[in-house]
Amino acid sequence: MTVTASPSAPAAAKSKPLSTLLYRYRWVRLVGLLSLPLTWLIGLYIVSLALLLVTAFWFIDPFTSKVIPGFTLDNFVLVFSEPAYVTTALRTLGIALAVTLLSAAFAIPLGIFMAKLASPWLRAVLAVAITLPLWAGYLVKILAMRITFTEEGFFNWVMAPFGITGPGFSLFTVVLTLTYLWFPYMALPVYTAIRQIPVNLFDASADLGARGATTIRTVVLPLLWPALLAGSVFTFSLSLGDYIVARFVGGANAQMIGSIIASNINLNPPVAAAFSVIPIAFVVIYLVVTRRTGALERM
């Protein structure tokens, strides 16, 4: 956009001083390009996050719930010594992993069907069907699941003739709802990756005597691995930070990390800040592991 002015045409250079300047000085170009996103990233994103994390070392006035700057590790000690908090952190980790595995288990066969077997028309319909839920509001989708799984709700009504009663509001429903929410973020990269696998690889595999399952295991999955990990970064980190789902369809024993942060954020911000370090740590570990596989380059 800025390097169109030619140095060999002085007339053009005079008429476009800005372009000349940008052409001559590389750093001006860089500043122009990066100042806005960097202000956003550092000024708003990183600083506000740092301000939150610093609070984790501060005190609280037990009467007014106002934070008092200082330095204490008590908040971290509380987070790691209280069994309920540790259980909650592990439960949340389990939920996030379950959601990721479930999404992947749905996404792979669907992706193979869409990319390699479905007619173009059906492929378009399925692509719309996957992305359509993204058009509805987050809360709307959660409430829809709530209505579906309530005691006198749709699920129990449909299943009653078969003598089946639904899971009600439970951990299982939380996993199911989170999978429903984040599935598109797994399905789309997986589908795109499968589309990029040349058809003749399937033919070659078949020629060499491999059956369908063997082809998937030895040809498709290795090529799919980076896309799966890329998708899992979304399903994993989004599930890790959620608490609204647990509140609406979780029943009595589905407390998540977010639930504890939410109940502390007004009354005891330092503990909320200390606890928010846990999902950050989980995600960082996950990203580091993922990075070693090279999946992030495919995102």
Partner: protein, 392 residues
């Protein structure tokens, strides 16, 4: 109720002035009365010209066009409403300094007063805040500190036991059906999802386990808190789900997931389901008492005072109370007409005996609210941590 706690004498006020400057809230030794170190915030001396608008944080249903529009016509003050869902949210919002007024419940008001976030009220500027205000709502601990009045009462109510009369066919006389492990409705119970709900357990223990010595459900020492948490953990086994969101609570009852649990009268009404009934069991209950409080950083104090006066008038105060489903603060409303009298009767507006059994939400603090000085009571932070352990 809590008579011992609330009447703060003039001596106490004087000693409070002397205490001003000390770092921590201090209890007056031996007297049993509570004195707090409150920042000295000046009150408005005289009314001036209205500023043209007023920003209010309120519970849903407190500020409605039905009466706010008339107020704007009369005073020229445009009302900007912000609905808050919890007391904690209200406190947080008030501390931004962007709002002039808040409809604070007792668990928010103490924090606001001691934090210096709200200013004392000049009663002379609020003619409607007079003798008609029911006695049970005047001079309470949570809005009258060190002899200064900080809140203009709006209304009060009890957290009721709501039940699905199709399943729970007889009116329950005790909260035991939501607490005991052998409840006939185990697995179909709902409970309020907030640390303040620990007080509900304390109210139940106060009645059934007097040996614990709980005198005020908001003044629990370590042992008493542990007992309440044990009861809550026992309840966790029979709870279908906790509710923090009113819509979730209504769908939980109407959808059949729960058949009994704690509720507000307005939620029972909003459910619009004849099967839903409410009662106040023998143990009593927790409840709330709300008051308008003016921000110490208000940029529209005149409009704020006009609003407090306007909403304290019998008609408007009654309209708010009827809309929310609570007992109005202004007793004069009950004599306006038959409908008003019926409302007051239904919500026990003039029945102080009924409210003897209702423990209004109050912020639990380290200084024991029941006047004990030999032990340290548990603070709201302790309650928040305890609440997390209840849900595992």
């Amino acid at each position: 109720m809590k008579n011992k706690l609330m009447a703060i004498s003039a001596t106490a006020a004087v000693s409070a002035l002397m205490l001003a400057g000390c770092a921590a809230p201090a209890a007056e030794e031996g007297s049993g009365e509570l004195v707090f170190d409150v920042p000295d915030v000046p009150m408005l001396e005289a009314l001036g010209e209205p500023e043209g608008q007023v920003d209010i944080i309120a519970w849903s249903g407190f500020v409605e066009p039905a009466w706010a529009d008339t107020f704007t016509e009369e005073t020229g003050c445009v009302v900007n409403r912000r609905v808050a869902g919890t007391s904690d949210e209200m406190v947080q919002l008030m501390r931004t300094g962007d709002y002039d007024l808040v409809s604070a419940s007792g668990d928010a008001s103490l924090r606001l007063i001691v934090g210096g976030d709200v200013a004392p009220i000049n009663r002379d500027l609020i003619p409607n805040f007079g003798d008609d205000i029911v006695p049970g709502m005047q001079g309470q601990l949570y809005d009258t500190i060190n002899g200064k009045v900080y809140g203009v009462p709006i209304g009060r109510g009890a957290n009721i036991l709501q039940y699905n009369s199709e399943v729970v066919t007889e009116t329950p006389t005790s909260w035991d059906i939501v607490w005991e492990a052998d409840s006939p409705y185990a697995g179909q119970i709902t409970a309020y999802d907030a640390p303040i709900y620990i007080a509900d357990a304390a109210v139940y223990l106060m009645y059934h386990q007097p040996e614990l010595g709980i005198k005020n459900p908001y003044a629990l020492d370590e042992t008493q808190l542990a007992a309440a948490v044990d009861l809550l953990k026992q309840q966790n086994g029979i709870v279908a789900e906790y509710w923090a969101d009113p819509v979730a609570q209504i769908t939980s009852f109407v959808g059949g997931t729960t058949v009994a649990g704690t509720s507000w009268e307005i939620l029972r009404k909003l459910a619009a389901d004849d099967r839903m009934q409410g009662t106040l069991p023998q143990e009593g209950s927790t409840g709330w008492s709300d008051a308008w409080m003016i921000s110490s950083q208000s940029d529209a104090p005149n409009c704020a005072y006009l609003w407090m006066d306007y909403t304290s008038a019998a008609e408007v105060n009654g309209a708010i109370a009827m809309n929310f489903g609570m007992a109005p603060a202004n007793a004069a409303f009950c004599e306006l007409n038959d409908e008003a009298a019926a409302h007051c009767e239904e919500f026990n507006a003039l029945n102080e005996e009924y409210f003897e059994n209702v423990w209004y939400w109050t912020t639990p603090i380290e200084q024991c609210l029941d006047g004990r000085t030999e032990v340290r009571c548990t603070s709201f932070q302790d309650w928040t941590n305890a609440w997390a352990t209840v849900k595992g």
